[in-house]
Symmetry: C2
Subunit: 224 residues, 2 copies
Amino acid sequence: MADERAADAGIGDHRFVDPALLRRALTHRSAGSPHNERLEFLGDALLNLFVAEQLYQRWPSADEGAMTRARAELVRESTLARIARDLGLGERLTLGPGEMKSGGHRRDSILADAVEAVIAARYLDAGLEACRELVLSWYLPLLDALPPPNRVGKDPKTRLQEWLQARGWPLPAYALLAERGDEHDRIFQVRCTIAQPPLSAEGEGTSRRAAEQSAAEALLAHLA
Amino acid sequence: MADERAADAGIGDHRFVDPALLRRALTHRSAGSPHNERLEFLGDALLNLFVAEQLYQRWPSADEGAMTRARAELVRESTLARIARDLGLGERLTLGPGEMKSGGHRRDSILADAVEAVIAARYLDAGLEACRELVLSWYLPLLDALPPPNRVGKDPKTRLQEWLQARGWPLPAYALLAERGDEHDRIFQVRCTIAQPPLSAEGEGTSRRAAEQSAAEALLAHLA
């Protein structure tokens, strides 16, 4: 089994000189030593640096707070787990029998840790430039899709309110249009209306607040 | 004033190609733009990486938790402020009038931020290797002085207890020897005694707990 893996010792086009490093990066601690926890520690630091320098370069006038919020979104567990799924890392993980049975290869935390460990493995195998290249191959689309610095990490209602306040325009109004479904499976439908520019948009959610956020998000899409 | 500084554009032996970068790193936001907050964001990520890779290399069998605790101690504000004082950064800071009057050049948070900003300035000025070299020139003595991985970041009483438990030996006893001083300025004196090896040590503090920690620390020094 180890030999089969060694024959495919890469992440995408990135081949590993030392396949054992990649194997370790894909070994969860439930499978015994050597596992990926130490690599995860190092990979987390590398990821933080690469994302920080990208934000620093791309946003020459953003303040520290905006960069910190953007980085938090980019390196959070759910983002890393999505990258792991895109790479098909789940099926390549080595897990202990308990984790295997309980579906550990689909769990966000295990997938996210494996991504960080792979980053460190690439660094130890091929150096900083090769590692940065791998990380940016995952992150450039995410970086390109970031909202402007002053909107990152804020919820849609806050962003909409700030956008209107910055122009001295009236604040939005939210109206509950409908509630449907059983008591334990309720769906709320809300309309968000602004006077200037005269626009409205609707949103749904499992709480009134979630529906308002969804409506604000839909309205912001008209303003962007 | 800017010209005088430019003539001395370095940190220790590390000269800057672009003196404006170093000036910015030493400019607090209270002095207006451009200030050092963005550099601090980038420098924090660089510092975390350099310390992480040192711990990873030096402690080949430490677990992630020990490395995380050690890093937290090494990059915390008080450690960075001490580095700033050793470098004499305080006198070189540019502060706004308010911060100047209130002694901002002596404040830990301002000094620590300046150290992180200087790290980023060095990176942007001379690249990763030169930056790592600067950071390690400050950190090698601190790294060399770290306790073993399993003792880092734990308080002295906990470390002493674990040391004794690992050997199956009796736990320490703490005795209050004296209390002195006014009600609002009390000093406690405590003795820590262990049966095996037969040792005792004393400590003082402004609370009973602090005095116990100090006594445990003194006793650990005999065991090291």
